[in-house]
Symmetry: C2
Subunit: 194 residues, 2 copies
Amino acid sequence: MPYSADHKKQSRERIRMAAAELFCRYGFDQVSITQVMKHAKMTHGAFYAHFESKGMLYSEAIRSAAEQSLFVREGYELNREKIIYLIKEYLSLPHVKQEVPPCPLAFLSTDIAHRDEHVKASYEAVFNGMINKLSQVLDDSESAHQSAKSLAQQLVVSLVGTVSIARSIADPHAQQTLLDNTKTGLIHLLKNTV
Amino acid sequence: MPYSADHKKQSRERIRMAAAELFCRYGFDQVSITQVMKHAKMTHGAFYAHFESKGMLYSEAIRSAAEQSLFVREGYELNREKIIYLIKEYLSLPHVKQEVPPCPLAFLSTDIAHRDEHVKASYEAVFNGMINKLSQVLDDSESAHQSAKSLAQQLVVSLVGTVSIARSIADPHAQQTLLDNTKTGLIHLLKNTV
DNA sequence: GTCTATACGCCGATAGAC
DNA sequence: GTCTATCGGCGTATAGAC
């Protein structure tokens, strides 16, 4: 055959990456296969040689987006200080504006609710991955009244809620205030549970 | 004319209400004008006698949804105990499953991010309304290190984040755990800032 | 594997009868 | 004001050449 297996793999990966960026930015319904393929430097006809449907691509794109996002990309050798650093990055305007690879949990939260179980399973896997990673770090210095996993969940829902809301608000000043308030609140929460 | 002004007003209201329910449940893109009008007991042709576009309907539907939602409908004569009651209702499975009129902040958060400034303004107004209402109650018994408005924001972003994520997760047990954890965390937060 | 071309359906919005 | 009918556009997915 005129195309190597590696070439196919690379094409597939380009599609996955393009999809991760575009779906996060515009949502599932407002991104067409034609747009994704153009972003991946191909035409729409080639799509179905790599994925069986747009929905299946979505499911994979969520995991791709997660792999590139803050907490995974910089989440090696995590400790309390690094968590605080990541919280600040997560709750930053560049993240909200998707100038860095965004967290799909925050950018796609309500979008996932309308999709099939396969897509939801991807979202849930990313969510659990983030919780597990955080709770491992928080475990060794945990307060008496709150388990590490529960604390990690508090953290994540606040992060996700804040960024979701900030993206849906037009006023830049209100965005910044919101981000800063959550930042202060979460750091306070972490300090008090050392 | 064969139709009274009141009749027109009622039709318009039926459309608004139908839109509020359907948009919250399925999102903007996955609801057609035909569906909304069918839900409002009319045919699609009549739509543009009441609204100038689907986007304008969305903007109004967000406010309609907010008016019916928990914190507004039961938010009169608020106090700390009632806030705790509303938190429990908000973080309940019937709310997540939209068996009661849902909060548009949680059900539409990422959906709004892709719309125009007019829609975002509606979302922001609902958000600010909720923050203001809560912070008034929290103001008289505020802790030294955290303003009432900031505390109210912590509350809302946790509520919104939790319900958004819970809707996007398939496993009912994980949903319930998530809801319960946030419930505990927020009640703890409120008690500690009396 | 990737291309161009197209089948087929749905949607937002408009036109005109009643 | 509400109806039926339709326009124009775009979407997913497929077919067939190379």
